[in-house]
């Protein structure tokens, strides 16, 4: 008998929950000024989250998947992408979309239930939201193949949840990318819950990062509430992508409900959530910046006010959107087939979209 493989998974934290920075690991581009920017971006994501939740509660959005607690994972990874890198989300990365400068309205429009929300995201090198869990992962591998084939030098950064790592599509895509040495960075946004199912019930593996080992590619675990570590690990992976794929598991926590259709009281005691409050991703950056004299209550309230007015304006614009039912028929194929023309015409002529039933 002899050992034929020996694998380890490393865990990285740079800014701890008390706001202490490990300067030896800190990437040099994460200056204090950059940290202020990241803090603002995380705060903006949180403000949008709160707004979207309240809109849904008022019936002004269909459903919404909150990102509360996951801001560092999203903003840290987004900040590590280069403008031409391709971003492949699941359904929870509103923070990444925002950082990539997707319009706020379009994000709101998605949760209000209109396809038009996804019309322009190609221009920011983003793929559309993918609701069926993990099904976006093979697309990401394919997009990575295209980058390599066309020698663009770009990486593809794909997101999957802890639950999503149980799907075949997840394994199949990191495996595919490994075999072909594709520039694919897989971010596991491990918020420790897949609706009501806890992380331990998804896999007997001690870490999700170690799934990379089976694909023959590097995997690392980071404190997903530490925006500096998330940035550093993602940046290493993005730069290393020219030589092949890797996996970054970000350990965070879903502080809110799965979506607005979910009631966590059914399955999760509050004490579990309470324990994560001190590890908040914004709090630690704020502590750090305050200690350096770069942040205070006055700045905080000025920022909040500014964020709220930007968000309110975007919401108002999104709410002005008027759907045209014809768009449903006219965007299915590149050339509209006769069947759809007929069906559309009948609907218009017969007034199917409005009116009362005749006696």
């Amino acid at each position: 008998m002899k050992d034929v493989y020996d694998g380890t998974v490393r865990y990285m934290q740079i800014l701890d929950e008390n706001g202490n920075m490990d300067e030896s690991l800190r990437p040099k581009e994460i200056t204090d000024v950059k940290l202020v920017e990241l803090y603002k971006a995380m705060s903006f994501a949180r403000a949008l989250d709160a707004k979207a939740l309240s809109l849904q509660r008022q019936g002004r959005a269909v459903t919404y998947a909150p990102i509360l607690g996951e801001e560092a994972t999203q903003i840290g990874t987004a900040a590590a992408m280069r403008p031409n890198d391709v971003f492949v989300p699941n359904f929870r990365q509103h923070g990444v979309y925002l950082y990539r400068k997707a319009s706020l309205e379009s994000i709101m429009l998605y949760w209000r239930g209109y396809e038009e929300s996804l019309k322009d995201i190609k221009s920011i090198n983003a793929f559309p939201v993918a609701v069926p869990v993990s099904t976006q992962m093979p697309h990401a591998a394919g997009a990575a193949y295209a980058q390599k084939y066309k020698k663009t030098g770009n990486a593809v950064i794909a997101y999957v949840g802890d639950g999503g790592t149980s799907e075949g599509d997840f394994y199949e895509s990191i495996n595919f990318a490994g075999v072909l040495k594709l520039p694919l960075v897989t971010i596991i946004e491990n918020n420790q819950w897949a609706i009501s199912v806890p992380r331990e019930w998804q896999s007997a593996a001690q870490t999700l990062a170690q799934k990379a080992i089976a694909a023959g590619i590097p995997g690392i675990q980071v404190d997903g509430n530490d925006v500096v570590a998330v940035y550093a690990a993602t940046r290493d992976s993005v730069i290393g992508a020219k030589d092949g794929p890797s996996v970054v598991e970000c350990i965070t926590y879903r502080m809110s409900m799965h979506t607005t259709a979910d009631d966590p009281e059914k399955y999760r005691p509050d004490s579990l959530v309470e324990a994560w409050k001190p590890k908040d991703p914004l709090l630690r950056v704020r502590t750090y910046l305050a200690r350096k004299g770069l942040w205070d209550d006055k700045k905080e309230s000025a920022m909040s006010e500014e964020h709220l007015s930007i968000i309110d304006e975007a919401v108002a614009r999104a709410e002005e959107f008027k759907p045209d039912p014809r768009s449903m028929f006219e965007n299915v194929y590149s050339t509209m087939p006769q069947v759809l023309k007929d069906e559309e015409e009948e609907a218009v002529a017969e007034g199917f979209w409005q009116g009362e039933v005749s006696k």
């Binding site: 269909v62 075949g168 759809l340 005749s358």
Partner: protein, 322 residues
């Protein structure tokens, strides 16, 4: 007891579990959470984790594992969280569940049920509103059931649990809590593959099922001048052709109303059978009312997609004027 469809199904599953300890429930969030629609509520506490299994998030394995269980003496009842996500299990269902019996010439049977919420009208996100009955009916080897009311839901679920063939059990989300009905406390079966003539009539036959049953009934109730016979299929496949043909012979006019999209939908199959066997009894062409021939849209558009009372009403006017 007065029950909505969720309570009726929950009650059925409870009785099925109590009746036979080889029955296990498996799926995503079926345990403590009781399923995202609460259909399995309370069963985890009552029967434990060995019999009410929160699986890892992987639909292909939920179906495949159910097949392995059913082939090995258990009677699994799997839940797929939504019809759109059940497609990740399509290979297992089509390549294996549908043909295990035929391939082994009856050597193996697969007593298993796969339940899933279907259809729209409740403003859910994309992929949460599909009506896939044609997909599963097209294969052969699968029993495809879709109740439209709490009484049928309980009776069909119990019948499905006793069936030795794989049953795809489609539950319209719109109807889960739409209304309550008197449902017997005791166990009872509603026969599979047997349509329900909900209302008798002699001028027009309307064949429908699932979410469209209420829509049709509402319109028919308003159209006092038309004597319509309303047939709720309840089981899509194998089709109860006899009930349909008998009605068509009487009325000479037939309309098929379904929420699934028009092209290659289940209405085409029914219309073809009527054309083959009853064409000389027809006094007007068959009329189909269905969603347009395109994928289910985002919720902001669903009101323009799902057939509504107005469409059904106009279709009745049209067929009656021919």
């Amino acid at each position: 007891m007065m029950a909505n469809m969720v309570t009726a199904l929950n009650n059925a599953l409870d009785q099925i579990m109590a009746e036979n300890k080889d029955v296990v429930i498996l799926g995503e969030d079926v345990g403590k959470d009781g399923g995202v629609f609460r259909v399995t509520d309370g069963l985890f506490d009552k029967y434990g984790r060995d019999r009410v299994l929160d699986t890892p998030l992987a639909e292909s394995s939920i179906a495949g594992v159910s097949i392995g269980m059913a082939a090995s003496g258990l009677r699994p009842i799997a839940e797929m969280q939504f019809a759109g996500f059940m497609l990740l299990a399509f290979s297992q269902i089509v390549n294996h569940a549908a043909r295990f019996r035929a391939r082994t010439r009856g050597g193996y049977t697969l007593p298993m049920v796969i339940r899933t919420p279907v259809s729209g009208g409740v403003r859910t996100l994309e992929h949460h509103s599909d009506s896939p009955e044609a997909l599963y009916s097209h294969i052969g080897g699968l029993v495809v059931v879709e109740p439209s009311n709490p009484y049928d839901a309980k009776g069909l679920m119990i019948a499905a649990s006793h069936s030795d063939d794989p049953v795809i059990f489609l539950e319209p989300t719109k109807l889960y809590r739409l209304f309550k009905q008197e449902v017997p406390e005791d166990m009872y079966e509603v026969q599979l593959s047997k349509a329900n003539v909900m209302k008798e009539g002699d001028e027009l036959t309307i064949v429908t099922w699932g979410t469209m049953v209420n829509v049709v009934n509402n319109v028919v109730a308003k159209k006092k001048n038309v004597s319509a016979e309303v047939i709720d299929l309840r089981t899509i496949n194998p089709l109860d052709e006899e009930t349909i043909l008998k009605s068509v012979e009487k009325t000479g006019r037939v309309m098929i109303v379904h929420e699934a999209s028009m092209s290659f939908g289940p209405g085409a199959e029914i219309a073809a059978r009527i054309a083959e066997k009853e064409i000389f009894h027809l006094s007007a062409p068959v009329v189909r009312v269905a969603a347009p021939s395109l994928p289910y849209p985002f919720p902001g558009y669903e009101q323009y997609y799902v057939p509504n009372e107005l469409r059904v009403s106009k279709a009745i006017d049209k067929i009656m004027s021919e």
